[in-house]
Symmetry: C2
Subunit: 309 residues, 2 copies
C-alpha cells in the first residue's frame, strides 16, 4: 500500500519518493524540538542570542540526515532527536563564529542580520560557545532508552567533528588560503571535507550509532555522507557565482570578491558540475543493499545536485 | 606509617599535610597528561595555538581537585585523568575567549602574551572552539574501565558548567555589569558562582561521579566547591588591588580601571577577607566525615585564602 503523502506515482507506475513533503514534515519536527530545547533564563541576553540563530530557519539538513539513518538502521526518531538537535546547535555555532568580523565578516545569514550585528561581537562569541557546550549537554542529558556506550560514542564523534580534526581545522585552512587563488584542489578538498563534510558525516554516522548499526553499515553510510558533503560544497561554490543574493539568503559573489579558490575557479563550472554528479552517483551506490528503505537518503543526495539555494 | 614526601611533623607530633609537595607532584602529572593529550597535526597553526595556551602554566587547580575527589571517594587517578585534562581545556578556552578584544581585551595572561596577540583574533576564537570540542571528545574517547553511564553524567555536568547556565552566563552578566559600579552583591555573586564557581564545582563533582560516589557525598563535595569557588573570587578581587603585575602574571588594577564592581568595592577589603574566611571554614566543615583522607581538599581550601597570586 503506497501512502499518498510520501509517494506519488510516475508514468511507469513505479513509486517515486516525494521528497518535498518528507523534508517539510521532518523540518517541522526538528524546528519544534529545537524550539523546546532552549528556554530563556537569566541572563536573558545570551539565551535570546542563542535562540536567534538556532531558530533562524535553515533546511535542517543535518538533523534530518541523523533521523533518517537512525530509522534506516532500525532505530526511532525519538532515539535520535536529541542528537539531531545537537547537530543543528553545532552547525549554528560554526555559522555564528564564521560570520564574526575577525573571520568572514558577514552581515547577513539566511536573509537575516548575523548574530554579532544584532547582539554585538562579545555576545556572539559567547552564544557560539554556549551552543557548542549545550550540544554535548543536550545529548548526554536527554537521550533515553539507549545503552550509554552508544551515547559516549556519539559524543566522541561529535567532538572530533567540531574540533581541530574537523570543522575548526577546515576553517583554519580556509582562512589561511584566503587571497591565494592558486591553491591546489587537494587543499580545497581538505578544507571542504573538514569544514562541511565532517559534520554531514557525523550527522549520518551518529544516527546509525544510536540505532546500534553494524560497522559495515556505518562504513557505507559514512562514505555516502562524505560524497554528498563534497558535492554539496561544489554546488555551493557554483551557486555563489550563478545565484542571486535573494535566492541564497546571503551575499552572492563573496568568493570571487575574497579571491577565494573554489572548485569552479579551479575546474570551471561544467567540470565542477560533472564531478558533483559523479559524487552523488557514488553516494547512491552505497545504499544499494537497503533497497526501498533508503529512499529518503537517495532523494536527499539527488536534491543536493538540483537545489538553487 | 607516615610517608615523608606527603607529610611533615609539627611540634605537637601530629601529621601536617604538606600541600606544596602534593600540588607540585599533581601539577607535574597533569602537565604531562596535558602535553600528551594534544599532538600537532595539519593544519599546524591551530594545534600550536591550542597548545600555546593549554601548556602556558597555571596552577592546574581544577584538574587537581578532580583527581583528589575521585581518589577521596574510592576511585583512582587514571580513572579521572581524561576528565581532569578536559577541565583544564575548558578553563583554557574560557581564558582565551575572555581575553579577546571584543571581551576583556587583555594582552597578558600568566605572564605571557594572550593567544590572540600571538596568533590573531580569528585563530584565537577557533583555538577556544577547538579546545572546547576536544574536551568532550577527550573524556568520551579516553575514559576506560568505568561504566558508560558515569561518563555520560560527567559530560552532561561539564556541558552545563560551560554553557549559558554556567561560565558563559556568568561572563555575559559580567560584561553587562561593566561600568556599573553600583551593582548589588547578589548580582556580583551570580557572576562569580557562574563564571568561576561552576567550573570548580564541576571539577570536584566530576571526580566523585567517576568514582561512583553516593548522592550524599556529591552534595557535600558540591557545597565544598561552591564555597571555595566564591572565596577564590573574593581573594582574586582583593589581589587585583593589593598585588603587583609581577605577582599576578597579568595586569593588576584592571577592575578599578574598568569600573568593575568587586567584593572589596562593595564591602571593603577587611570585610571581604572575613567573608572569604567564613566560606573556607564552611567548606572545610563539609569534609568532617572523611577524616584524614580529605587532607588534600582541606589544605587546598586553606591555601586559597593565603595565596598571593
Amino acid at each position: 500500500m503506497v501512502k499518498t503523502d510520501e509517494k506519488s506515482i510516475n508514468s511507469d507506475n513505479a513509486a517515486i519518493f516525494a521528497l518535498p513533503s518528507y523534508l517539510k514534515q521532518r523540518k517541522s519536527l526538528v524546528d519544534k524540538a529545537l524550539d523546546n530545547s532552549l528556554s530563556i533564563k537569566k541572563p536573558e541576553t545570551i539565551y535570546q542570542a542563542m535562540r536567534y540563530s538556532l531558530l533562524a530557519g535553515g533546511k535542517r539538513l543535518r538533523p534530518i540526515l541523523c533521523l533518517a539513518t537512525c530509522e534506516l538502521t532500525g532505530g526511532s526518531i525519538d532515539m535520535a532527536m536529541p542528537t539531531a538537535c545537537a547537530l543543528e546547535m553545532i552547525h549554528t555555532m560554526s555559522l555564528i563564529h564564521d560570520d564574526l568580523p575577525a573571520m568572514d565578516n558577514d552581515d547577513y545569514r539566511r536573509g537575516k542580520l548575523t548574530n554579532h550585528k544584532v547582539y554585538g561581537e562579545d555576545i556572539a562569541i559567547l552564544a557560539g560557545d554556549g551552543l557548542l557546550a549545550y550540544a554535548f549537554e543536550y545529548v548526554a542529558a536527554n537521550t533515553y532508552d539507549i545503552p550509554a556506550e552508544r551515547i559516549v560514542r556519539v559524543i566522541a564523534c561529535l567532538g572530533r567533528t567540531v574540533g581541530a580534526a574537523g570543522l575548526v581545522g577546515g576553517q583554519v585552512l580556509d582562512l589561511e588560503s584566503e587571497g591565494k587563488p592558486d591553491i591546489s584542489s587537494q587543499t580545497l578538498t581538505f578544507i571542504h571535507t573538514h569544514k562541511t563534510g565532517a559534520l554531514l558525516e557525523a550527522s549520518v554516522v551518529s544516527g546509525a550509532i544510536l540505532a546500534g548499526a553494524s560497522a559495515e553499515d556505518i562504513t557505507k553510510l559514512s562514505q555516502y555522507a562524505q560524497n554528498i558533503g563534497l558535492a554539496f560544497q561544489i554546488i555551493d561554490d557554483i551557486l555563489d557565482i550563478t545565484a542571486t543574493d535573494e535566492e541564497l539568503g546571503k551575499t552572492a559573489g563573496k568568493d570571487l570578491q575574497a579571491q577565494k579558490a573554489t572548485y569552479p575557479s579551479l575546474w570551471g563550472i561544467e567540470k565542477s558540475q560533472t564531478h558533483a554528479q559523479k559524487l552523488i552517483d557514488d553516494a547512491i551506490a552505497q545504499l544499494a543493499t537497503y533497497e526501498e528503505k533508503a529512499e529518503p537518503l537517495r532523494a536527499i543526495a539527488n536534491y543536493i545536485i538540483i537545489r538553487n539555494h
